[in-house]
């Protein structure tokens, strides 16, 4: 199930997709999350949550990660996404 959703959602970001009106966003995993960035065809953060919850690599991170869209932290999943948005997952921090 996980693989099917991933395969359906995971598309390469290219100009052909843009011309057809398909919305593509880039998802980056910061700090200690050892995972390559994804490029996904999703319309909002609720859809992102659905995709990432199917990813067993992220099971330990979703409970404690904050989310930024274009480098601004967000507190709701409702904000719409637009083509080319950058989404970042930020795990717990400890500077100093």
């Amino acid at each position: 199930m996980s693989k099917i959703i991933h395969d359906l959602t995971y598309l390469r970001y290219n100009s052909t997709n843009n011309k057809e009106g398909i919305l593509m966003v880039r998802v980056e995993f910061l700090g200690p999350i050892q995972k390559e960035a994804l490029e996904l065809n999703i319309n909002n953060l609720n859809e992102l949550a659905t995709v990432l919850q199917e990813d067993t690599e992220l099971t330990q991170w979703l409970n404690n990660c904050a989310v930024a869209v274009n480098d601004t932290l967000v507190s709701s999943l409702e904000a719409p996404l637009k083509d080319g948005d950058k989404i970042s997952l930020l795990p717990p921090v400890c500077g100093g």
């Binding site: 700090g31 949550a49 979703l62 990660c65 970042s88 717990p92 921090v93 500077g95």
Partner: protein, 164 residues
Amino acid sequence: MEIKSHYFLLFAEADAVLNLYDGALDVPIILKDWYEEEATSNYGAYIPFVGTVRSEDGIDGLSFDIYEPILESWFKAWQEKAKSKGAVIKMAHSRGNVMLHESSYIASVFSPKRRVALEFIEEFVEDFKASAPIWKYDLKDGKRIYALERSTALAGSGILSGAK
């Protein structure tokens, strides 16, 4: 914007600076540079906080990852807050490995009178620990181990976990 060979100046506005260095901070040089930058600015108080890596739990040192875009916007917001009180904040932090008894973090506040600087340094450092997008790792037995138990989840964390 100024770039020197040994560090990258991430943010500079008026007298504010946010410097990121690869490896340990050169504490005497940084404190001296900041002092000299403001020596004739008519600030009555200069209060630095220097964070040093301590020997505990058998670590050999610490290591840091930084996400610079959000660190920069976080620092800029603090700089505006300081500016409204007539103060200036300067901050330096390490990227990568910092070994025992070396420094990874310096924050300083300059203000006309001591009370503002004393209050700001405490507020700033506390918010830094809770909000700055920096990740810490223990260096131990040749491994780099994420310090999850000493880390703080950012505001809004967990929103991706419950949606269906």
